[in-house]
């Protein structure tokens, strides 16, 4: 009995020490709730968009969220955070939405989930209302911020005055706002187009097997796979050499890029990539190209 107790004590010590010193625990900041979220982004103006949520661990889960942080005067950043289960679950339906924003004038940040970039709409510093051919007013960013719609993941979305007014009401009542036609959020049409996000509950074992099938297929026909990979590498290298004389990040052969959990590329990005590649291309830098 003593030996068994000692053995379990040893396991506990090992797990405790591993957890305390694990790089993921040390390097990745932790967000427990909205209050800590606010303190994680002290600057202003800032808009934090939730772009991914995933969990790791078979038995004991660790919850992660990825944010795209839009600073007005700095390049945007992609940042990962560990979160509490409650916070993670609460924001599962807010994918692609802004979950924190702080204006220069405001001391306190607001954490009501709103469509991405809602902070910038209606502020004359960033744009103005313009009449469209349909007769309704739509938000138009100034030339200096013309890249914002792309950064915010709007695609062809036009922020109308009705959309803005409706959003303000939701903000006042501290309720999540998904857009007039539910364009944003995990189920939103625009979010699906831009991020192609699948909720973790829907990432079934069958789906995993389905995704794994191309790897099995390639490993069964190694010669063809290697030829295909070589040709895809050549194509990419050629493409990069055409665009710039320097060797760009994209010219790194795909076979050297390993997939990482949480570095899942968007669905539409996968479609665009050649199917022959062994691994999906992953973002190599934390910074997002403007």
């Amino acid at each position: 009995m003593n030996k068994i107790s000692l053995y379990f004590l040893l396991i506990l010590i090992y797990l405790g020490l591993s957890k305390s010193f694990a790089p993921s625990e040390q390097a990745t900041s932790y967000i427990a709730n909205e209050h800590t979220l606010q303190h994680s982004f002290p600057n202003s103006p800032v808009s934090v968009i939730l772009t991914d949520a995933f969990k790791t661990g078979f038995i004991i889960h660790t919850y992660f969220q990825r944010y795209k942080v839009i600073h007005v005067f700095k390049p945007p950043e992609d940042i990962y955070f560990r979160t509490s289960e409650t916070f993670w679950t609460k924001h599962l339906e807010h994918m692609g939405m802004s979950i924190l924003r702080r204006d220069e004038k405001l001391e306190e940040a607001t954490t009501t989930p709103l469509p991405p970039g809602f902070l910038f709409i209606g502020d004359p510093a960033y744009g103005s209302w313009e009449y469209k051919s349909s007769g309704e007013k739509a938000w138009q960013f100034h030339n200096a911020y013309k890249k914002f719609p792309k950064l915010l993941g709007w695609n062809d979305f036009l922020a109308t005055e009705d959309f803005y007014k409706s959003g303000l009401l939701y903000l006042k009542n501290d309720r999540a706002y998904f857009g007039l036609d539910q364009e944003f959020g995990s189920e939103g049409t625009i979010t699906q187009e831009v991020y192609g996000w699948t909720p973790p509950s829907e990432r079934s074992f069958r789906g995993t097997l389905k995704g794994f099938w191309p790897y099995i297929k390639q490993s069964l026909s190694f010669e063809t796979a290697s030829k295909k990979t070589d040709s895809s590498v050549k194509n990419i290298e050629n493409a990069s050499s055409r665009t710039s004389p320097k060797k760009s990040k994209e010219s790194i052969p795909l076979k050297y890029i390993k997939p990482q959990l949480g570095e899942r590329p968007p669905k539409n990005q996968n479609k665009n990539q050649n199917d022959q590649s062994l691994f999906p291309t992953l973002p190599l830098s934390e910074k997002v190209d403007e």
Partner: protein
């Protein structure tokens, strides 16, 4: 051709250097065991001194083990390569001898070399010395490899390795059912074989725990401790698993005393069993703790 000639010169230099160290050992041996100072410089008859032959050759095997994975960097020229090598090799040799002295003082503090080897011809003692030399040679080699030529790092790793090995040696009476001192006095080979398996097993675990990529001393030390802890968790599983799988009949604690006193032959059998079981379990543990590549299974940002 130039390159081939340089490599040949280095190999000859390496051979001469090892021969020189072996010769140096002859004199250091006299310092180690002052009571047998005269014996080392007399004519040596291996046929009549088989225990001493085991003892002596085990030391030389240890020296060979240290240098079994040395590297020469001739990119900066031959003279610098020789100098770097000579410094590192001398350091390795000094560490090896110091380790032997310390471990012998911990484990064999009740026994005297001249009594056991020269007078009593104790094969068990000679075998234990052999096991210690090989284990320490292997460990010093692992330290030199992990140290990457940094003097501070090598000394730090050597200290850690030696503390771990010394601590492990002290746990032998807890793990083994054979009485170390009593059976060694009785010249029982069983205890030597059991101890050999035990020490080599621990050496494998310690040296594998040193084989981590080095970033900072802090992280490195944590990784060593975690690997040792993990080994302590995995090891009993293999030990119990082997006993269970092959239905090995372990003697009870009560019977252990009878083995030691009345049935020396059974003690040999038990010693072989213990040593084999320990070494195999440690080897399998090392496979689990040291050589699994998990890739980027858990994200680190």
């Amino acid at each position: 051709m130039n390159e081939l000639f340089d490599k040949l010169i280095i190999r000859i230099f390496f051979t001469l250097f090892i021969c020189l160290l072996i010769l140096a050992y002859k004199y250091i041996h006299a310092l180690f065991y002052p009571s047998s100072r005269q014996q080392m410089f007399r004519r040596f008859s291996p046929r009549k001194n088989s225990t001493d032959t085991i003892h002596l050759f085990s030391r030389i095997i240890g020296v060979g083990l240290i240098f079994s994975q040395f590297s020469f960097d001739i990119s900066q020229g031959l003279s610098e390569a020789f100098l770097t090598f000579a410094l590192e090799a001398c350091l390795g040799f000094v560490l090896y001898l110091s380790s032997l002295y310390i471990i012998e003082s911990i484990v064999l503090y009740n026994f005297e070399y001249s009594d056991e080897i020269l007078k009593r011809k104790n094969y068990a003692y000679a075998l234990i010395c052999f096991a210690q030399s090989v284990a320490i040679g292997y460990l010093v080699r692992a330290v030199l490899m992990a140290g990457h030529g940094s003097l501070v790092m090598i000394l730090f790793l050597w200290l850690i390795a030696l503390v771990l090995l010394g601590f492990a040696s002290k746990t032998f009476p807890i793990i083994s059912k054979l009485s170390f001192n009593r059976l060694l006095v009785q010249k029982n080979i069983g205890i030597a074989l059991s101890y050999t398996g035990f020490l080599w097993g621990w050496t494998l675990i310690i040296s594998s725990s040193l084989a981590h990529p080095y970033n900072s001393i802090y992280w490195y030390a944590i990784q060593i401790v975690l690997t040792i802890l993990l080994s302590l968790i995995i090891f009993p599983l293999f030990k119990i698993g082997l006993v269970f799988a092959f239905n090995l009949q372990e003697e009870s604690a009560k019977e252990k005393l009878n083995i030691a006193e009345d049935r020396p032959q059974e003690a040999i059998g038990h010693g072989i069993y213990e040593g084999g079981l320990f070494l195999t379990s440690c080897l399998l543990t090392m496979v689990i703790t040291g050589h699994i590549e998990f890739g980027t299974f858990y994200p680190v940002f």
